[in-house]
């Protein structure tokens, strides 16, 4: 069937709730109104109040509550309405969700999923546009995935729900509905921890994730270069193998992400390439990223976001250095 990303998410939630009655979903405005992005539309009608619940405006209680439910044996899938509102619950991730299994030596576990729309480009208010995957990717015990296609959105969310450990699913809301693509009707998992090669190539490796995949692919096309384009898909645990093998082949790399540059996840990719493929590098790795500033308010956000021309210039620099 042809689905948008948000449709694919809705589909995955339907299937997994159907398949496993321990799965329940909750968050702000997800039940009665189907979610501010309609990602949870129809679920309350289908699965009832017990399994689809509107919570108070309480991010700490949502994330911590999910951890408690998961410890007890449920499979909670909680929504944080925008990723900019996950920071109030940061402590629940650091202190509990990510380390329940570790702390209790496997006696308990916390198979929870936090879904949250992230990233800029939808002309929303302050704090609605951030990308802190670098922060969450630094927390041991927490898995972090970022789908960029409807197929991956369904498959990765399905995998996240079935995963025995906590998974943060960061959903690129800019492209929630920007296109439809073929999505299998039956359920399936896309493996967490595996990057996807979107386009094979030999001249350079271009690595990106989330909404930035599309300006990236467009820049590659505009330039007509023979780039290998990698969609990271998972931030943690990182598939450094795919990245490193590609760079060994091409000898050149460019990373595109919308988060701030300094301390962003791009630096970890560079560090991995340094570790295992330094001697293959023919040029410094380029990063095309957000600037080291807060995401500007909506009138300026398109200055902030990487766009095809910026990416093209980056590619040219990598190719000519």
């Amino acid at each position: 069937m042809q689905e948008t990303i948000v449709g694919a998410i809705n589909d995955a939630l339907h299937s997994e709730m159907d398949a496993d009655e321990r799965v329940l979903i909750f968050g702000e405005d997800i039940a009665e109104s189907g979610g501010v992005f309609r990602a949870t539309d129809g679920l309350k009608e289908r699965f009832g109040d017990d399994r689809v619940l509107d919570t108070p405006l309480s991010e700490i209680a949502i994330v911590g509550g999910a951890a408690g439910l998961a410890m007890y044996g449920y499979r909670p899938v909680a929504e944080i309405q925008f990723s900019g509102f996950l920071p109030p619950a940061f402590d629940q991730l650091v202190t509990h969700a990510s380390r329940i299994r570790w702390r209790t030596r496997g006696e308990w576990s916390a198979p929870l999923v936090i879904r949250t729309p992230y990233g800029a480009g939808v002309k929303a208010l302050e704090h609605h546009s951030e990308s802190l995957e670098g922060v969450y990717g630094h927390l041991p015990g927490l898995k972090v995935v970022v789908p960029s296609t409807p197929r991956d959105a369904k498959g990765l969310l399905t995998a996240a729900i079935r995963d025995p450990d906590p998974v943060l699913v960061m959903e690129p809301k800019q492209i929630y509905r920007s296109f439809r693509d073929e999505v299998p009707e039956e359920s399936y998992e896309e493996p967490i921890g595996e990057a996807a090669i979107r386009r094979e190539g030999s001249e350079l490796s271009v690595i990106s994730w989330g909404a930035m995949m599309y300006p990236t692919l467009q820049a590659v096309e505009n330039l007509g270069v023979d780039a290998e384009v990698i969609d990271l898909r998972t931030i943690s645990p990182l598939d450094d193998e795919t990245v490193v093998e590609s760079v060994k082949k091409t000898g050149r790399a460019l990373i595109v992400h919308e988060a701030a540059r300094t301390g962003g996840f791009g630096s970890e990719l560079i560090a991995c390439i340094n570790d295992r493929a330094l001697m293959y590098l023919k040029a410094p790795i380029e990063r095309i990223t957000g600037f080291d500033v807060p995401v500007p308010l909506l009138s300026m956000e398109d200055y902030y976001l990487p766009n095809p021309p910026r990416i093209e210039e980056g590619i040219k620099r990598v190719l000519t250095a």
């Binding site: 108070p56 405006l57 309480s58 002309k123 302050e126 500007p296 300026m300 902030y304 021309p309 093209e312």
Partner: protein, 383 residues
């Protein structure tokens, strides 16, 4: 019960049990929904002030209507209207003084106008133009988009006023949804301990987006939460502008004297949460109709009529004035100079660190080289 008084407040029930049924918070009303009132309860305001309150409520309503229309024409990002909450917004804002601070959440435009914010800047705010926030700060105003997150700032700023011996208070504007956040809890409790001059003004408009108050908390009122912080609370009919004014004035005075207070203004959001929201998905028309009958402007009109002041109100003239003001504000907003790339970097630090300077320089050079980048940058909507 014990000689040294360590088990204090222990003269209560032997069971030590407490429940919300032990506490009937009541409701401060001056003008009842049917329009009746006791004259001696009416706050001591001059006739022109009484008329002024109406003018401001009408301004709030008109501003909200115009903004919603503007958004529908694609000239704003989104907008959160105060429709239905005019008495709550104006009654409270009218009780504040010039030197007071107001840190809010966006649904209190009129209270900010009362503090001197030009309409233009509220339009700029909803267009996502950074300078709007400067104009707010100039008048000691701020909007916090992360719900509830500003309460600790409120307490901190009020603590500063206390240390300074200033003649002012900080008013926190927040909603029923916000009351569930940890930040609101910590901010209020700490203010209580400090005795800081803060007024926590909660507009309980019955909804946090789609979530009704009954799902927000089991508590029957938010005013009763004050008890848990050892501060005082007032529950006021938020559709009764005189009652809200009185509650806020009382709270302001107490706060200035070192007793922060929590005011719960019981009202109803008659419009959508924001222009992106569709309330028919989660509430029914009969409820809306019920509250429509409690329209704060209608109620106050009946009061003004009883007082013989309605004749002082030239409804059409006010509307015309406000619309003119809005037209001028909109024009000023439209004329607002175009965005410039430096703005992204400006003011992040007192002094821009070298690496950021370099990011800026490189980006500017890029824009020179690749003017086609503007195809992606050019503003899609106005603002």
């Amino acid at each position: 019960m014990d000689e040294d008084g360590m088990y204090e407040t222990s003269i209560g029930p032997q069971s030590g049990r407490v429940s919300q049924n032990d506490l009937d918070v009541g409701l401060l009303q001056i003008v009842e929904p049917d329009g009746s009132y006791a004259s001696e309860e009416v706050p001591a305001l001059h006739d022109d002030q009484l008329c002024d309150l109406y003018r401001w409520m009408l301004l709030e309503r008109t501003f909200d209507e115009r903004m919603v229309k503007l958004q529908r024409r694609g000239e704003l990002g989104t907008f959160g209207s105060g429709y239905g909450q005019e008495a709550s917004i104006i009654g409270s804002g009218y009780a504040l003084k010039d030197e007071d601070w107001l840190l809010g959440m966006g649904r209190e435009a009129g209270a900010m106008f009362l503090q001197g914010l030009p309409m233009r800047d509220m339009i700029l705010f909803w267009r996502g133009i950074e300078d709007a926030n400067r104009e707010m700060a100039k008048r000691n105003l701020m909007i916090a988009i992360s719900i509830g997150s500003h309460l600790p700032l409120v307490t901190g700023a009020a603590w500063g006023m206390q240390l300074d011996g200033a003649d002012s208070v900080v008013a926190a504007y927040f909603g029923d949804g916000a009351s569930s956040t940890g930040a609101v809890h910590e901010g209020m409790n700490f203010a209580g301990v400090l005795g800081a001059p803060a007024v926590f003004f909660c507009q309980n408009n019955q909804y946090a987006i789609s979530t009704p108050f009954e799902k927000q908390t089991q508590a029957r009122s938010l005013a009763q939460r004050a008890v848990g912080y050892g501060i005082d609370g007032i529950r006021v009919d938020g559709n009764d502008v005189l009652a809200v004014y009185k509650a806020m004035a009382e709270a302001r005075e107490a706060a200035q004297a070192g007793s922060p207070m929590l005011v719960e203004s019981l009202t109803y959001r008659l419009g959508a949460h924001t222009t992106s929201d569709d309330p028919t998905r989660y509430r029914d028309r009969t409820e809306e109709a019920q509250w429509k009958r409690r329209d704060p402007l209608d109620r106050y009109e009946s009061f003004l009529r009883s007082e013989g002041l309605w004749s002082e109100i030239n409804h059409e003239a006010i509307l015309e004035d406000v619309n003119n003001e809005f037209d001028a504000a909109l024009q000023a907003a439209d004329e607002y100079e175009p965005r410039h790339v430096d703005e992204m970097f400006d003011y992040l630090y007192a002094e821009l660190p070298p690496s950021l300077q370099q990011q800026l320089v490189e980006f500017k050079a890029f824009l020179e080289d690749r003017p086609d980048a503007y195809d992606y940058i050019d503003q899609r909507a106005k603002g």
